[in-house]
Structures are given as structure tokens and as C-alpha cells.
Amino acid sequence: MPTIAYEITWDLGAGFVAMPGALGAEVELQMTEGQTGLGWGNAAVPRATIRATAATVDAAWSYRPVKIRVSVDGGAYQDLFTGPLLEQDDDGISLRYIAGGMDVIIQRAPVRTPVRRRRPIATLTTALTNEDPDSGSPGWANEVFWRAGGRPWDQRGSYPLSSTVLFYYICDGSSVAPPAYCVDGDNAWESLLLLAEAGAGQIYQGADGVMHFVNPLSFGESAASPPHLTDSLTTVPTGTPYERLSRHATVEGVISTAHAPFKARGVQVMQQVYEDRTAYDVLPSDYRDFELAMQWPIATHGSVTVEASTAQGVPTTVTPSIITTSGMRRVIRVTNPSSTVGLIVHRIAAEGEPVSVITEGTASFTGSSVGPFPAELRLPSNDAVQTYADARRWSRMAVRFFNTARPVYTATDLPYSPLLLPGAYALLTSARRSLSSTPVRITRVQIERSGAKITSLSCVPLTGLPRLSDFFIIGTTYADSDTRKLGY
């Protein structure tokens, strides 16, 4: 067994420093849903339990970021976990902290955007892309990350962590670009998962706390020097040996046909999109804010009309000020100009160009039969799937991804390796199961409190899964004779 050393630090506002009295940690990293870990819209988020002496009590512990790093056999420390502290248990003798992933930070951020046209679900982040949604054209997932306090990992030099820069993110590109879409949610995490579902992608958090939007075609891609899980160091001398390898297979989730719904959107002409005839009073020299929630996303907002009268019944012209505007709502402020007489607002109306559903339908694709019964998947309705083409590609990809039964292999009692993280590409060898360097994707890792070993690790074979390298990739140079697929 290797020798493991932990470094547990936290940031109380002046950078990461050692957590006093920290005794050890237990970390679990896994995909949130799905048997195979390949599901769209899935997320991999970590949870960590940290034990410390009572001396570690700090009144300002909540949401403080904590970082757990590991050194194997005296080597350099490597990230194992980064995330905010969420719970604290103090029994008078020791402390127990529970830390979560960045999803906890993200889910507390409301994100409301304007309607944007043909914006991809996600765009590839680089050191040069303008990720600021107010000045650039980042993808939807990029924008939600940004507005929830994230900044691109490739540009971290320009955005040091602070009270406003809370985490970093990396996005793959997505082919899906809804013609007219907006995000309007109090929970940015849910918005992200819906976007990931529409883009057939996944969200996961790396050990360094960096959030990833992953294109599913990258699941099957090989990686340089991947970790190798093996039943025998004789077979793979550089591998990570496990004690036992169990296998679980199910018919659940294996499909032959996928149905993908879509709802096409169209922009209507300028018209009244909001009206409220409730009476509201505004005290003298006071103001009142009104949130105008729209029935449909508004592509272009028009004028807002406020009809009011004084408390004595004299009609009064009121010009509201616009506080905020997003696709689904406007917040206006009505100020009573009089210091002596109350104001009664009796009608508020707003104009705009609504984005309405103009048609809807379902695209279907059928692949190979998987058993004696029709095995169908009805993909959920998703507001970001707005064209027949996207639905058609969605259904075809679903069949290609889920037409093959993929067993879940669970290895137990492995020596700890910082390379064994959810989402990582690895190889699996088992003489008993006739597996020899089979490509797998790790979907769950449970690390023992001592840190010396991984108690349990699940992975899924990737054989036959479509890969990015099978296709002509935009931005890549090819020779005339190079043969690839154009895509789905």
C-alpha cells in the first residue's frame, strides 16, 4: 500500500491556509444519476466529510471553500477535492464538516437572460474567447456558469478567485443552438442540467473544483497515459490493482428506438404582452417596484405604460423607470412625485415581441432490436430543443449511445491514485472476465477515510461508443484523402 498524506486547507478570505486540527477526510465522487454514468444531463459532483478537532471552530465557516490534496509516497500534492463547507457538527470533542461541490454555489444563483438567437448550448472555452455574455457570444452553459460566479479556467490569470469570482469552468462545444431561447430560473444548476440534457452533454466537477461541460462524443476518446485497473500487476506492472471486480448488467436503459420532442419558436409582432389592472398605492415621495412576469419570452421589449391617478382621483402621467429587463420579466419602478398626496396605480401594461411556440412535433429513430419487446426511450421535452433537426439528431444519438447494454464494473479495494476520478478515461483488465485493456469511463469513486485506498470504484466500458475523432471536427485541418463522418 502506498503512503498517503493529506493536506486540508480552507480559505477564510485571505487565501488557502491549513485547516487547524484537521484529522482526515472521506471523499465520494460519483455521477448523480443513471446506471451507466453516460446519461445526458447527468452531473458528477463530489461530497467530502472532514474530521477535525474542536479547535477548528470558526464562526464564519459556512460556504468557505475547502481544498483537500493528497500526496502519494511523498510525491507532490495533487488536488482531490475542492468545494464549499455546508455542514458542521460539533459534539464537544471533535468537529465534522461536510463539504459539497460547486453545484451548491451555482444552484443559489438566479440567472435571467435576454432572449438570444441561435446561441449554442455550449462553446469551447479557450484563453482567447470572450466569455462575458454582456459583450461576447458565449454558449448558454458558459453564460450560466459566468453569471453564477464562474470564470473560464483558461483565463484564470485574468480572474483570480474573489468574492465575485467563485469558481472556474471549462466547456466543450455543442452542436445544438436553439433559435430563440432564454434562461429564467432561480436555480442556475437546474438550468445547467437542462442545457446539458439538450446538448446531450454532462456537467461534472473536477478534483480541482473546476466545472466542466462535456460533449458526449468525448466520453469515448482515449487519453494519454490513462490509468490502468488490473487484476494482476504481473499483467500490467504500471497499473492499479484491485482486489475484486463485480459486474452489474440490466436491461433498463437499453433502447432500440428514441423519440425526441421539439417545439419550434417564432417571434411575433410588437403587441401588448402584459397587463395588470390591480390597484396599487404608492405613498407620497415613495416608490414601488413591480415585477412584470411575461407569459412568453420576449425577444424585444417595447414600451411600458402606467396609468395612475392621485388619491383624489386626478389622472396623473407616470413615467416608470426600468430597473431590470430579461427575456421573461421586467422590473419597473413607479415613483410618486408628490410629497403630499398618495398615488394610485390602476393599470400597468407592457409591449413586446413575444416568442411563441409555432409548431411542435417529435423526431424518432430506430436502431437495432435489443430484445423481444420494443425498447423505447421518450426523451423529455426540453425548451432548448426547438428544431426538427436537433430533435432528429438527438434521437439518433440516443440510439447510438444507449442501444448497447453496458455493464457497470465495480472494483473494490484499490490503492489510492489521484488519476482515478469520475469522468476519467481508464483501461480495465480482468483475466476472469476476458477484459484486456478495455477502455472504460470512471463513474464513481469512494475513498476511504485513511486515504490509503479506494474502497469502491465503478466504471463503464466504452467499446462502440461514438467518438469525436470519428467525425470531421470544425476547426481541424484535414487532407483530401482523410475519411471521417460528417456527423449525425
Binding site: 455550449a122 462545444g173 452542436s175 482523410d482 460528417l486
Partner: protein, 500 residues
């Protein structure tokens, strides 16, 4: 006419993802086909009116009510007409803009001019700025004639009873409504370059937006219109000519004219339907007593370089003076201009999803699509009469209630075969009907020409409480596929399809 492919929206080509077939290459291919086919499509002749001069004898006298959708950038409103008025009276033509038919139905006078006999072209407006019109607003243009000498309410007297035809009426330039320049198309070389794909998609999107700017006002068809209005006076010594429909065209690059006419001859003698182009008889269809049929003449109009009047007449022949005759029925579905050659460009082979091919093949196909886009661009630029002018919508006939009632019960205001993606419609109590049409004569035993129409599918587009403007995305109406006939009814003040 071919049935158009629909434009599928501009695809995005983010870096680091497959070029894609579904949603990628095939959208470029579908969009190329859509703009190619759309740019080959003809247009309808301008619909002036049915019969000789609608309405009754008043001063001023309605010369038709028209409308268009205003957008900033449009500057010029042009009218062209053809008149056979007598030189013995002085008549003026007046153009009024009505922006609010409820609070200000009288409108505002935009321009007036002396009416002259023969062909006449008037620039009604050379600037539309400062008129207070909002982008997208539907502007009604009411055209009136009035006599200045004596202001007699019966100035259109027998000596002046003749042809008063609007043969072109349009706003321009549509090209000013696109702020961005045509980006051109790329040449693919060493891979699916993101900038080139975006440029290519942008070029097709520009073409679609440019084509989509041109409104196609729905046609004021004549449904079961009666001929024979003057048989009372017939003395049996000459044929009777009944003008049935009039209009005009400026053909641009289009070189053929056709019409779709259905007839039912109810007289006890033979009749002829006669199509005149620029005053010359261009085609004739004989009707024998009791005959029902369809006539779709094709006329070569390539010799007509300028704005040209056209009209349809029904000539009745009988030698029995005073014989009581019954009017025949003539339905006119469209009068349309088109190209003699409308063969679309040959598209490259469409790839199947997940099919493998070499980059050389993929590149050749992409470059082929780009070449077609250039052809479409040049085709549009080379025909400003078709692509740079927005013809006005001809409101249903009649301008006072009795006249409207008369025409609306004998004419379907608008019957149209869908070619476009969206319909812009303004009005009040507007319904759209399609599918299984049932026509019911109001007086089956002694038909008076009035009827009711009920379609299998009826959509309420605008309720009767007030005037509204709506965009109807026609693809959202189940069963209303491209080429399907539909009609609009109610107080329709504007109705025009846009191809893309």
C-alpha cells in the same frame, strides 16, 4: 409552380464539434435549395379590381384601398394607373394614409395629382421619414378620385364610365431594409473551417432574409363572379363585353403570364373569356351554353418592358334582342407571372448521417453549395422589379358598407395557395379557412350570386374586438402544407405571405 422548400434557419458551427449532417450540412443544403427555389418563384399580377369601377357614383369616389407594412428604410411609394377618362372633365387622384381606422378613419392626405388619360405614374411619397410610422406598422392607403369642376356627385357619368385601373402600386427600396452587406461565400480548402462555415451560413441567411423581405400580398380572387350586368339594354346587334377583372404587372425578369380561371356558362348562348395584355387580345377561351370548365392560359410577356395593364372580359354573343339572360359564373384564383425556365440548380449529393466520406468529397459538396448561393445572389440583384419592391395589398372591394357587402358575398376576399413560411395579417374578426370547402348558394333556386363558404378547418386569427396585426407561422397550422389552398375572411386590412 413548384412547391418551395422551407428555409430552416441559420445553423451555427461552433468550434470543436462535428460538422454534422442533421442540423449542419443538410441545413446548408436545405437552405441552399430553399433560396434557390424561392428566387426562381414568380409573383402575382397586381390586382386592381373586379368589374369596371366599383361602388357608386360619389364625389370623391373610392379608387381602391390598399395597404403595406412600413419599415424604416422604405422611402418611396409609387402608383401607376391606366385610365380611359374623358378629357371633358378634370379629375384628380388623392392618396390618403390611414394609420388608425377606428379613431381617424379619414386618414391624412399624402399626395394628390391631376389624373390624366392613358398610362400614368405618380410618385406618391419620396420620403417616409417624419410621418410617425412605426417599424412593422401596417399603413392603409386610400385612393380617391374627385372632380374639381362643379364637384358633381355624378361626375363619373356615362361619358366617363370606363377603365380606371391601378396597374402597379409599390413601396421601395426593400434592399434598404437589410443593414448588413452580403458576406459572400467562402471556398473550402483544408478542413471545415469555422469562419468559412459561419460565412457560408451567413450568406444563405442573408439571401433568405433578403428574399423574405418581399411580401406577397394575398390575391383578391374573384369567386363565382357574375358576368352580364347590362343585358337589360341589349338590342341584339353587337356582342356585349363584360369586364370581369383588371390588373397589371411590371414583369422584371419574368416572361410568362398565366391565370387560373374556372367558369360556368349559364347563358343560353356562347360566350368567350378574353384576356387582354396591354390592350391587345392575348388569349381566348370559348364557353358554350351550360359548359363548366377551367382555363389557364399562358401568355408570353417578354415583349412588355414597362408597367403593363391586363384585363379579363367575358364577351356574350346573342342575336336575340332583349332576351333574358342569366349571368355566367367566373372564378379567378390567380393571375401570375413566372419564368419560362424554373429549373432549380442541381444540388450535390446529400450525405446520410454517420456515412463516411473523404474530405475531398465533403469539400467539393460544400463548394458546390456555395456556388449556387452566388447564383441566387446574382439572380436577386438582377431583378429589382421583383425583389426590390413591395407591392401593396388590395383590400377587399368596395369602400362603403353596401358595396362591401355586395362584393364580399360574391367574392372571397382572399384565396391563396400557400407558398410562404409566414403570413402577416392585419384586421378585425379575421378567420383563416382551409381544407374541404363547402360553398352554399344563398338562393339555390334562383341564384343571385351570393354564397356562404365553410372550410373543414377554420382558424380564428384575430378576434372581432379590435384591429390587430399578427404574424402567423403557417407551418404551425397542421395540414396547411406548402401549396395548400386557404382563404382569409373578415375585415382583412392587410395580408401578405413572406417566402422565407
Amino acid at each position: 409552380m413548384s412547391v418551395l422548400s422551407t428555409y430552416q434557419g441559420r445553423p451555427e458551427f461552433p468550434a470543436g464539434v462535428p460538422l454534422e449532417v442533421t442540423g449542419g450540412f443538410d441545413v446548408l443544403q436545405a437552405n441552399t435549395r430553399a433560396v434557390d427555389e424561392a428566387s426562381l418563384l414568380g409573383k402575382d399580377a397586381l390586382c386592381a379590381h373586379a368589374y369596371i369601377l366599383e361602388g357608386n357614383r360619389e364625389n370623391p369616389h373610392s379608387y381602391g384601398q390598399w395597404s403595406f407594412q412600413y419599415f424604416p428604410g422604405l422611402t418611396t411609394l409609387t402608383w401607376a394607373g391606366y385610365n380611359t377618362m374623358s378629357a371633358s372633365v378634370t379629375e384628380r387622384i388623392r392618396f390618403k394614409a390611414v394609420t388608425d381606422p377606428v379613431s381617424a378613419p379619414g386618414g391624412v392626405v399624402l399626395h394628390e395629382a391631376l389624373l390624366t388619360a392613358g398610362l400614368q405614374t405618380i410618385t406618391v411619397l419620396s420620403s417616409m421619414s417624419g410621418l410617425g410610422w412605426a417599424s412593422g406598422q401596417v399603413i392603409e392607403i386610400h385612393v380617391e378620385l374627385y372632380a374639381t369642376d362643379g364637384a358633381s356627385p355624378s361626375f363619373i357619368d356615362d361619358e366617363n364610365w370606363g377603365r380606371y385601373e391601378t396597374i402597379d402600386f409599390y413601396v421601395s427600396p426593400l434592399s434598404a431594409l437589410i443593414a448588413d452587406a452580403y458576406p459572400g461565400v467562402p471556398t473550402y480548402t483544408t478542413g471545415p473551417d469555422q469562419a468559412k462555415l459561419e460565412q457560408h451560413a451567413g450568406a444563405l441567411d442573408w439571401l433568405a432574409r433578403r428574399i423574405g423581405l418581399v411580401p406577397r400580398p394575398l390575391f383578391q380572387s374573384v369567386a363565382m363572379g357574375m358576368t352580364l350586368y347590362h343585358f337589360d339594354d341589349y338590342d341584339g346587334d353587337a356582342p356585349i363585353d363584360n369586364q370581369t377583372w383588371a390588373g397589371g404587372f411590371t414583369r422584371g425578369a419574368l416572361d410568362r403570364l398565366t391565370a387560373l380561371i374556372r367558369f360556368q356558362c349559364n347563358t343560353n348562348v356562347a360566350e368567350d373569356i378574353r384576356l387582354f395584355v396591354n390592350g391587345s387580345l392575348a388569349a381566348t377561351q370559348s364557353m358554350t351554353a351550360g359548359q363548366q370548365g377551367r382555363w389557364d392560359p399562358v401568355v408570353n410577356i417578354s415583349a412588355h418592358g414597362s408597367t403593363t395593364p391586363i384585363r379579363l372580359e367575358v364577351r356574350t354573343r346573342t342575336t336575340v334582342a332583349g332576351e333574358p339572360l342569366r349571368g355566367s359564373r367566373v372564378s379567378i384564383s390567380h393571375v401570375r407571372l413566372y419564368r419560362a425556365s424554373t429549373t432549380p440548380s442541381a444540388l450535390p449529393t446529400a450525405p446520410e448521417p454517420e456515412a463516411s466520406l473523404t474530405w475531398s468529397t465533403a469539400k467539393t459538396r460544400l463548394n458546390s453549395l456555395a456556388t449556387i448561393a452566388t447564383t441566387v445572389y446574382n439572380r436577386i440583384l438582377g431583378d429589382s422589379e421583383t425583389w426590390d419592391r413591395a407591392r401593396l395589398y388590395r383590400r377587399n372591394y368596395g369602400y362603403d358598407e353596401p358595396a362591401k357587402s355586395f362584393f364580399e358575398t360574391r367574392h372571397i376576399p382572399v384565396v391563396w395557395n400557400r407558398v410562404g413560411a409566414r403570413l402577416v395579417v392585419r384586421g378585425k374578426g379575421v378567420r383563416l379557412g382551409y381544407g374541404g370547402a363547402v360553398w352554399t348558394l344563398n338562393e339555390p333556386k334562383y341564384p343571385d350570386g351570393t354564397f356562404n363558404l365553410q372550410n373543414a378547418i377554420e382558424e380564428n386569427l384575430i378576434d372581432a374586438t379590435g384591429f390587430q396585426t399578427r404574424i402567423v407561422y403557417l407551418g404551425g397550422l397542421k395540414g396547411l402544407g406548402l401549396g395548400t389552398a386557404y382563404n382569409t375572411r373578415g375585415d382583412v386590412r392587410y395580408a401578405a405571405e413572406h417566402l422565407l
